[in-house]
Symmetry: C2
Subunit: 385 residues, 2 copies
């Protein structure tokens, strides 16, 4: 297939920052793109060939969109899967496949799959709703503390809650959910796996994540993770196994816990470019976005090695500010060597909203880490109104 | 000034591949852009906020375009300078300045400036037209061989001719021109200088260029140039002096000859991102496009150091092919580690048309050079029609 400056059309469901960064690569290769997003101010409205405003959850909208393209991918999981099933049935290649998305959209099914395939993960129980969960507690099948997760539509920490006592249950919504064993862990790790349609497969180095204690959003992503080589190797092997279990095409970001005794437990996956791979734009030979594109187009995968150490700092809206965004001290951080801000293009900030990220690269990880701290302490995402 | 996700509007005159790669950076920073280009199929029609079709040489078109923006830059030198003069007079910041563009648009004036400022360059004579030049030859003021250059509007080898005898004169157009001493040289070098409005200045490493013998277009750009440290230092010092002489704001690409006895002679300059800096997208801490943007917005300049060795191969249309483009063997070269194609987005190829480039990066320059040769021997820009 000829993709470059041709009539080939790639459809992207979702027009957020992941789509925007993917469009940088489609432009680089001059591949025609159509983007669908409900928000007419979506970050991906520029850089695509055609932008369509419409619901990602509406059958007809997604189906009609799919009929206009030669291949369909997603930058967000929550899309109408019935429309994708029908499009796939009618012969449209869709990566990741609706089958994979259906498994991943439901955290209960996802966990079951890991257990079935011998992939290490924390113990869990599935519940149809809150009453079901309460019953389980009253029957002593489930003990505090545990991690409650909404089975569907969780995003960026919404839909996750550590429950330590009955009081915590009171704030939970009555939805299908799972309860997971609360695992004390040393590190949260992630491995991004790229797998093409022909089965070529490559893993990015293991990254290490630090979370904001309140917002439950990633604060630093550090590549390579500062862990033992044997632990890193184990994490990569498990990630490969997860990708093969899903028979995944495209990128799969596998989030994992490193336990106190150096076991690796799979937490959850994202079937697309991922926040934990943003460092790759500056640090890697091939960015995660370029490799996602290569994988779904069945082009050879690019090298996932790093040129230099990379650290990513998320730019999220400061608490107490809501309105037109202002990036305080952005000039100050840009004066530091190896510092690159990425501004997603959202006009309005609000507390904890993901507004951008900053990548810090350096030959020396220790220096990169110091600079990352400096960046974090300097820049603030605020509003004057 | 707040540029990021704000109401600030940057105008770009010209919508070719340089503009397209600059837009990657404006998108990364979410800076609003307006682009003017005569071709509605211009590579920059995507990725900007608003694209306007119109002549770059028409006073009213350029003037009206300028009235819509807060700052104006160019990606091609041949624009209506009277309109820029008027806009500047009315307070619009324009980088590079119309004064610099006026000097650079005329190769005779450019050469005179070098002589006046003690910048080493080959000997030259200026002529108002062909008769004037013939007179000079008949009076023995000018001897064969020499390099004839059209004073204005030369691009990619058009407007340059080596004249070895009277026969060569017969094909020349009757335009204002210069005749330069034909210098035997070891290397063609280039240094890109970034200088911001506040006077902060940085040079990229010296690159080495190899030209296609017939098309007079760059075939390989190699960074860093494989030359002595002392020669490299001299080249960078001279480039800095040229930038200061022009009081330049933005990027200035300084093309130079390294003579047989290791003298550096300035050939000509381009007041914008340049083909010789494309390698920087993959190899440098900060790409030339990002630094052009930082410079004109008076933001701190980014590091111009390289992470790895970089080589750039131009993708030009094969002789004998004209029509819808097809990139033969592009998949084959993408299978090699560190190889990144950039496709400019021109639907039609024709002989020697610049259609894209490929960057090869590697920690080891020798390996990079071998891969570059392999890339050059594999990919062909052809058409099936």
């Amino acid at each position: 297939m000829n993709y470059f400056s041709s009539d080939f059309k790639l459809g992207i469901l979702g027009g957020g920052q992941l789509g925007k960064m993917l469009l940088t690569e489609t432009r680089k290769f001059d591949i025609q793109t159509l983007v669908l997003d409900p928000n007419e101010e979506a970050p991906s409205r520029f850089g695509c060939n055609n932008f369509y405003k419409g619901s990602l959850m509406d059958f007809d909208t997604v189906y009609q969109f799919g009929k206009m393209v030669h291949l369909l991918t997603i930058e967000i999981e929550n899309v109408n899967l019935d429309a994708l099933d029908k499009l796939e049935e009618e012969g449209l290649p869709i990566f990741p496949s609706p089958k994979t998305l259906r498994l991943i959209q439901n955290k209960g099914k996802q966990k079951d799959l890991y257990i079935q395939n011998g992939i290490p993960t924390s113990k869990h129980l599935r519940f149809v709703g809150l009453d079901d969960l309460r019953n389980s507690i009253s029957k002593d099948e489930l003990d505090f503390p545990f991690v409650w997760k909404s089975a569907e539509f969780g995003y960026d920490g919404n839909g996750v809650k550590i429950c330590r006592s009955a009081i915590d249950l009171m704030k939970l919504p009555d939805v299908e959910c799972i309860a997971e064993e609360l695992i004390p862990f040393k590190n949260e790790l992630a491995v991004i796996v790229a797998r093409s349609f022909s089965g070529e497969i490559k893993t990015y180095p293991v990254v290490e994540m630090e979370f904001h204690p309140e917002a439950n959003q990633v604060e630093y992503v550090i590549c390579p993770a500062r862990i033992n080589e044997s632990v890193a190797q184990k994490a990569q092997e498990i990630a490969l196994k997860v990708s093969e279990t899903f028979n995944h095409v495209g990128l799969l970001a596998v989030e994992m816990f490193q336990t106190e005794d150096d076991e690796i437990l799979v937490n959850e996956v994202a079937p697309r470019p991922h926040n934990s791979g943003h460092y790759s734009i500056e640090a890697s030979y091939t960015s995660q976005f370029e490799n996602h594109l290569r994988a779904i187009l069945n082009l050879p995968l690019g090298s996932t090695d790093s040129k230099v150490a990379g650290i990513m700092v998320n730019l999220v809206g400061e608490e107490g500010y809501e309105g037109p965004v202002y990036y305080e001290n952005i000039g100050q951080i840009m004066a530091i060597d190896g510092v690159t801000p990425h501004i997603y293009g959202k006009r309005e900030t609000r507390p904890f909203r993901k507004m951008g990220h900053v990548t810090i690269v350096n030959e020396d990880m220790t220096i990169a880490r110091q600079i990352a701290q400096e960046v974090k302490n300097s820049i603030r995402v605020i509003s004057y109104q």
